[in-house]
Amino acid sequence: MKVHVNGIGFSYGKTPVLRNVSFDALPGQVTTIVGPNGAGKTTLLNCIADLFRHEGTVEFNGEVMEKRGIPKFMSYMEQNTDCEADLNVFEVVLLGMVQSLSFYVSPEDVAKVNDVLRLLGISQYADRKIGELSGGQRQLVFIAQALVKDPKVLIMDEPTSALDLYHQFNLIKFISKITKERGCTTIMTLHHLDVALKYSDRVVVIANNTVWGEGTPGEMFTESMLADVYRMKANIILDEKGDKHLQVLEPIDETNSDTTDQCKAPHGEEGKDVIRSMNDHHRPQIEWGIANLPESSPKRILDIGCGGGVFIRYMLDKYPESVGDAIDISETSVKYCREFNSGLIDDKRLQVTLGNVSHMPYGDGTFDMVVSNASYFFWDDLGNDLKEVARVMTNSGILCLTARRSIDKDNIETMRSENEHGMNILLDSELMDMVERAGFDTACFVEPSENYLAIIGRKR
């Protein structure tokens, strides 16, 4: 049963908890909702299950439920597994079918309960009181309760919160299997991102009370998502099979926010401020830099490390015949750039892509002009990255690297010794050499009073 969530909004009093949340969940797929504490995940599930009165609609196979409350085709499992009732496990699971139970429990219903207990490996607890079980065991019981009526739509709020690592993986794997076998539509929230990455078919990221992004786990689980949404430094590692794995490093220090990190990959609310200010104060050096470029219109321009998108806008203004691409490693920048240049995007003159300069998603010889402002400082492997730039360029294509220099022969040693972040601290001549080695003929322009630098290269 297809679930179409359309413009859900919810407020506690005047405090908005959800704004305009829309996504689809499809049969046979596990749709996982992830996001930090307080993002509104549980509220969203409550709205989908119609336990809360909300704005927007939820359609099941195109129909909006008229009657309030949980419909018969849906199972909802809440996060809390506390239960003191004097009922045994069998009875608790049996209650999963409370909407259809007759007074006398039929042999079919008894068999259904026994089957699901066996599936979850908790048959041995059948006659134990629910209150006597551990939190993890109770969680399995309530999962059994949710599954016993064979729902078409299965909604689970943190089904693994009380489980150990083994059971977390095993259980979600099991739910994923059941979802595919029975073709049910499973929507759940998960805090354990490794599990979500491994077993989800779709991921909806909720942050700041709305949908931050939606896509496959591969699309959603990025370093910038973790920085932006979870305030965590993390590495996404690709194994030899091409599967993504998550390596979570440490929280981003909020109190002593790292300016270099923010400049490299702006994230969160603070990141937006950084982007906004970069868009403003980069204007003079960009204006000066592009004056050094040829007048003839290139066909396709790329801006690497586009930030808030001011450079590519200047470029497409200067060359009205051209189309452009912009790429940045920061999700926040990409979003900002798209909003900032929405007119150009609507006119199909600009595409903004999330990506890393070290392996750009463009074919060989795609661009006849590549620009980049104040970005090469942060490139991880500058020499090879410049070669990657050369790869995506046509022969005789123009490369324009601009920056505001603060480096000269007198201070370079001090700067290098204080360079904790592995930034590329280079003299003009060193940078020119690297560009040359990557396959360009170069020229260097300097604006002495403001210390602007432009290195113009032509691909050999």
Partner: protein, 360 residues
């Protein structure tokens, strides 16, 4: 060696077939049947034993062959003792049922039929009738006090209903509103006692102890019909009530409109309790302990718990009635005092000998 192996295999096979729910249920049905038989026995004892010096054998022969005894004896047995015994059974069952529902719907093991102010309302109503005579309503005669008690207990429930209608039928709101009303009506009752003449005061105090002695063939059928009606209506919802024991959120997640259920359960047991209290007064303890005993024996599945609460309530009240006649040596002890004196030791016995904790 071979035998042991075979036994293990058989045991494993039994384990694989899962939990034998039918056997588990059959055991509960059996226990309920035993309880029912016990109630009939207690009823019989209740009829046979008297506070006065009537020989039990004489009563038995009256029942077996009514024509062989005097008219006075017939009246004693058929118009006094049997109605009183039936009243003990039905009111005990009603209090047991009302207590079980109240504990379930408020999700509170301490709840009783009186938690939400029914007894306070009835107490004031009775006192008010005794003190003022209710002017123009004096034509009601002996029905005056029950009528007033019934009216005011329903008035108290109406107050809670109104508050809950505005704020929602959540357990918290209902308990808070109930506590407020209990204090309000207790204050009014105290005022009545303050204003009462010594005779009326004695009547009020005696009424609050509760008594089965007003039972006759007018009020027993009323209580009986009310009990059957409410029991049937409530019993149809036993699965839903069982689910509510998991907590409101879990019940809602199972598709149950908990506030709606609570509303109608409240209306049902208010009517039932008010009817009983009007005729027998505020007999305490049964409504709180009856369901607990039933729960300890049969667990929380309300298909079993509700009838068993009725059985336990009926049994406790009937036994207490027997005791009130036997130990009084010519005087009938107030039944409300006896229910606690008889029930509490038994309750403690269960509490102490039962391995598992008593849970809400």
């Amino acid at each position: 060696m071979g035998l042991t192996e075979k036994k293990e295999i058989v045991e494993n096979a039994a384990g694989n077939t899962g939990f034998d729910y039918n056997r588990y249920s059959a055991k509960k049905y059996m226990i309920m049947t035993l309880g029912l038989v016990a109630c009939i026995v207690f009823f019989f004892l209740d009829v046979v034993f008297s506070s006065t010096y009537i020989n039990p054998m004489q009563i038995i022969s009256t029942i077996i062959d009514p024509d062989s005894v005097s008219n006075a004896m017939k009246v004693v047995v058929f118009d006094i003792k049997i109605p009183q015994g039936l009243m003990a059974l039905i009111c005990g069952a009603s209090f047991g049922l009302a207590g079980a529902i109240m504990q379930t719907m408020l999700n509170n093991p301490l709840a009783s039929p009186y938690t939400l102010g029914i007894s306070a309302g009835a107490g004031f109503g009775a006192a008010f009738a005794m003190v003022t005579g209710l002017g123009g309503l004096a034509v009601l005669g002996s029905a005056l006090v029950p009528f007033s008690a019934f009216f005011f207990s329903l008035l108290a429930c109406g107050g809670i209903f109104l508050v809950a209608r505005i704020k929602g039928f959540s357990a918290d709101i209902m308990v808070l509103a109930g506590i407020g009303l209990v204090f309000f009506f207790q204050a009014l009752q105290a005022l009545m006692q303050y204003l009462a003449s010594p005779e009326a005061l004695q009547g009020i105090v005696f009424w609050t102890f509760g008594s089965l002695q007003g039972s006759d063939w007018t009020n027993v059928p009323i209580v009986c019909v009310m009990f059957l009606l409410i029991f049937i209506i409530i019993y149809r919802k036993s699965w839903v009530l069982t689910a509510m024991k998991l907590g409101d959120n879990k019940a809602a997640a199972l598709g149950i409109d908990t506030n709606k259920i609570r509303k109608w359960m409240f209306v049902g047991i208010s009517l039932l309790t008010a009817t009983c209290v009007a005729f027998v007064g505020c007999i305490g303890f049964i409504g709180i302990v009856g369901p607990h005993v039933a729960r300890m024996i049969l667990g929380e599945d309300q298909r079993f718990l509700l009838p068993m609460s009725c059985i336990c309530g009926a049994a406790i009240l009937t036994v207490a009635d027997v005791a009130s006649k036997v130990i009084g040596n010519g005087i009938v002890f107030p039944i409300g005092i006896l229910t606690a004196l008889v029930g509490v030791p038994f309750f403690f016995y269960l509490l102490l000998t039962r391995k598992k904790k008593v849970t809400s």
